[in-house]
């Protein structure tokens, strides 16, 4: 059991390291294609060497791996076939060739097509080799070697791979051949696929290559951390998968993929910066702020119009009316109590809303931003008068005091906006806390 987990974990770790580059470079499907396409390489190696020998299979797989990447590229550039079509054509054709060869080879060589496709993680402890007193599964040797080589590759070429992944044009201009590293990476992917097929089969290698790195991608913005997290995610998927597979008596490889998928789903929902919950929280917070500011601005405008004895568009200032006026919707349910708690609003007779002193200060600042923006638009863009309000309505929430001062200075401290309404003055240096 321990060795099963170990084999799975090592395979996952190696795949996770390489998969980070695939995911970042939007080549996940190329990884998928290569993992399918190595099948004929493996089969050819069987037919050529007549045995299940790893070095031969590695060679066959790597050749086919590079071949896949090359032919896809050629089809795209010379044959003028769109990229995804050429990828699909190449790997399905190679897979078909592989299936045919495997079916033929199975007759001549002791090879079960099923194991090539699904892997034999569950049976990996059967063939063991004694090392340092432990019975190590034979499969661990190539996998362990692969992990070491991959780690070495990633460490030695860390800077080159980084720049080639994020800015291939710059890399080439600097003398680092983006093309060379691309094909080098593809060769490594092909190699790792073939080495892992004993663990998970060629079909589920894709899961190991893509899902843990994608999970890591959601959790961090730094490449180094992404690699560490990807390896951790891969290893934990291996552990959980093998344990669950043993418990439910089902395929370990499949379970590893499922566990990786569950981890990914958790990351999608709960990731601190990029997760859905965080995003919804931010959106709710923003909506709250905007609705709140709209309500306060509405009340201020009311007061302004009342002071000039002009009629206002809204009949009264009840809670319901205000919410309707600013299209607050259900966000208003918690916005108004929130504003009350902050001391910017209070309730008057008959559930009408009233500004407090603090609210008035905030409103003044908002209206100042709004009207300064209208003045700015009117000055610089010669827009008709009725086009100004909508834009200012949106932008006013995002103009902070610094930007406000800049716009005011740019326009030489205007007193009125294009509509002729007074622009409230600058907020005083030490605002006195006036009562409502």
């Amino acid at each position: 059991m321990i060795w099963t987990i170990a084999v799975g974990a090592v395979a996952n770790a190696a795949c996770a390291l390489l998969g980070c580059y695939l995911v970042l470079r939007r080549m996940s499907l190329l990884g998928d294609a290569i993992s399918h396409a190595v099948l004929p390489g493996i089969a050819l190696a069987f037919l050529a060497s007549g045995s299940v020998s790893v070095p031969w299979m590695l060679l066959g797989a790597m050749v086919v791996g590079v071949f896949t990447a090359l032919v896809t590229q050629l089809l795209h550039t010379l044959g003028r076939v769109p990229e995804d079509t050429s990828l699909g054509v190449v790997f399905t054709s190679l897979f078909a060739v592989g299936v045919i060869l495997i079916t033929r080879a199975a007759a001549d060589v002791d090879l079960d097509p099923q194991c090539v496709l699904y892997g034999l993680l569950d049976f990996v402890s059967i063939h063991t080799i004694p090392i340092l007193g432990w019975e190590v599964p034979r499969a661990m040797l190539p996998l362990g070697g692969a992990l070491l080589i991959t780690t070495a590759f990633v460490s030695v070429f860390w800077k080159e791979l980084k720049i080639v992944s994020f800015d291939p044009a710059l890399a080439t201009a600097m003398g680092i051949s983006a093309v060379l590293f691309h094909y080098l990476l593809m060769t490594m992917v092909a190699g790792i696929t073939v080495v892992s097929f004993e663990a998970v089969g060629s079909i589920l290698v894709v899961a190991m290559l893509i899902v843990p790195p994608a999970t890591a991608h959601l959790l961090t913005d730094r490449l180094g951390w992404m690699m560490v997290l990807a390896v951790l995610a891969g290893v934990s998927a291996a552990v959980l998968g093998c344990v669950a597979a043993r418990y439910f008596e089902t395929s370990a490889a499949g379970m590893m993929a499922v566990m990786a998928g569950l981890q990914f789903s958790l990351a999608v929902i709960f990731a601190p910066r990029h997760g859905l919950i965080t995003k919804m929280w931010h959106q709710a917070a923003l909506a709250t702020r905007i609705v709140g500011e709209d309500i306060i601005a509405l009340l201020y405008r009311h007061e302004e119009l009342a002071a000039q004895a002009l009629p206002a568009p809204e009949e009264n200032l009840t809670l319901a009316a205000c919410v309707r006026a600013v299209h607050g919707g259900w966000v208003a349910w918690w916005t108004v109590p929130y504003l009350r708690r902050r001391g910017e609003l209070e309730f008057g007779p008959g559930w009408t809303l009233r500004l407090t002193g603090r609210g008035r200060d905030l409103a003044r600042s908002l209206i100042r931003s709004h009207r300064l923006w209208e003045a700015f638009l009117g000055e610089n863009f010669q827009l008709p008068l009725d086009h100004l309000h909508a834009s200012a309505e949106r932008v006013e929430h995002f103009i902070g005091p610094h930007l406000q001062a800049e716009i005011a200075a740019e326009l030489h401290r205007p007193a009125v906006d294009p509509h002729g309404r007074e622009i409230p003055g600058e907020p005083a240096e030490n605002p006195a806390k006036s009562s409502g």
Partner: protein, 425 residues
């Protein structure tokens, strides 16, 4: 190799042809919209549904398994869209993740069924990967015929809408068409085709059937309607030829052979299709380069002859070579070409003379070249949008008014090539 054409083979033949035709029809839109691998994703995502339905139905019930496969297949599509829209995961990674995780879930269920039930035969669910057309029954063919008819019907009725949504979804939405619903309908058609084809062709190979006929058909025509029809035809051909070949070689799963037939057709199309094929384009390119070389020769010859007009039209080969820095062998080849076309006469080993035909040709070419040059000199901003290197005739590209004014400028400069009759008049 025996070719038993008895009943069973005919059933299989009919079934694979219908499947190929449907896949070709439905795949053409997917391929055009750069969603070629969606079939692969659907095929992988369908496995858990197949297995779950098997468990719930208690046995191999085709309708239940199809329904299950369709359900998880469409779920996969929805997940891919969701991931792409609401997270920072890009499209290719989204497809890969959904594909592999759902497939893993399917493997888990399939393996569980094998270990815990007596009804789940190894062969039944394993043929899912590789396909097993030999197991096709008459009922399956009826299903496939129904599918084919359904596809054709939906395609015909909604052809214009699909066309619009495929090429300009934004415009379609603005015009009031339910772009999202149409998109989903197209996906559903693909899903149904994939699911019905799975027992026969297997997973990866079903994906191939969706791509290959459409991708091949693309090379033979520029018109969408023709492409869709041709794609269906190719699909049917691939299916039938593939299954015939596979019946001939017993022991070979039919799916891969069908795919290989499709690949051969595809690569043939890539290379040899009349206008878009690689060979045709290369020949076109070679032709174009030769025309350009001929023009440069005529231009050079006219420039050398111009000072001597109207008396002599002799040119030394040495002068030509220094004029344009041709290699000796290049120039020799060009001169032979010009001689064959009747443009020049050889006068010994080091001189040639323009014939009347050649002279006229040279004038044409020089006029065009000088008109372009004048255009660039006078209106360099406009020239960028007008200049078209492939259009050798300036008279097609520029409006007559512009041509006249350019000609007037050139005449005034004395740079306008004149035929003899004009020169002496």
């Amino acid at each position: 190799m025996t070719w038993p054409l008895h009943y069973n083979t005919l059933v299989v033949l009919l079934g694979t042809s219908l499947l190929g035709a449907s896949a070709g029809l439905v795949g053409s839109f997917a391929v055009l919209r750069r969603q070629a691998l969606i079939g692969d994703a659907l095929a992988h995502a369908a496995l858990p549904g197949l297995c779950a339905a098997f468990l719930l139905a208690g046995g191999r019930s085709m309708p239940a398994m199809l329904a299950g496969a369709l359900a998880t297949g469409l779920l996969g599509i929805v997940l891919i869209s969701g991931l792409r829209r609401w997270t920072r995961i890009k499209e290719d990674a989204a497809i890969g993740i959904v594909l592999s995780v759902l497939f893993g879930a399917g493997i888990v269920l399939s393996s569980w069924i094998q270990n815990h039930t007596t009804t789940g035969s190894k062969a039944g669910l394993d043929s899912y990967i590789l396909g097993k057309t030999a197991g096709m029954l008459r009922e399956d063919v009826y299903w496939l015929a129904g599918l084919g008819a359904g596809c054709v019907l939906v395609m015909t009725v909604l052809y214009k809408e699909f066309k619009l949504v495929a090429f300009d979804a934004g415009f379609a939405a603005v015009q009031g068409w339910p772009a999202v619903a149409l998109d989903l309908l197209l996906m559903a058609l693909v899903a149904v085709t994939v699911v019905l084809g799975l027992p026969a062709a297997g997973v990866v190979l079903m994906a191939a059937l969706l791509i290959l006929p459409a991708a091949a058909a693309r090379f033979w025509t520029q018109r969408l309607g023709h492409m869709v029809l041709l794609s269906g035809l190719f699909g049917a051909a691939i299916g039938s030829i593939g299954s015939l070949l596979s019946a001939g070689y017993s022991g070979m799963p039919a799916g891969p052979i069908i795919v290989l037939v499709g690949s051969v057709l595809f690569f043939f199309s890539v290379l040899f299709a009349p206008k878009r094929g690689a060979v045709a384009r290369w020949l076109n390119h070679v032709n174009f380069r030769r025309t350009i070389a001929e023009q440069r020769l005529l231009l050079a010859m006219y420039e050398l002859v111009e000072p001597q007009l109207p008396k002599g039209r002799e040119i030394t080969i040495h002068a030509l070579q220094t004029r344009r820095a041709w290699r000796a062998s290049q120039l020799e080849g060009l001169l032979r070409l010009a001689s064959r076309k009747g443009w020049i006469e050889r006068l010994g080993t080091d001189r040639v003379q323009l014939t009347q035909t050649g002279f006229r040709e040279a004038i044409e070419v020089t006029r065009t070249a000088r008109l372009w040059r004048q255009l660039l000199a006078e209106q360099s901003e406009a020239a960028g949008s007008l200049a078209d290197l492939d259009a050798l005739s300036i008279y097609e590209r520029l409006p007559p008014g512009m041509l006249e004014s350019l000609e007037v400028s050139l005449r005034a400069q004395g740079n306008w090539p004149l035929l003899e009759q004009e020169a002496t008049s």
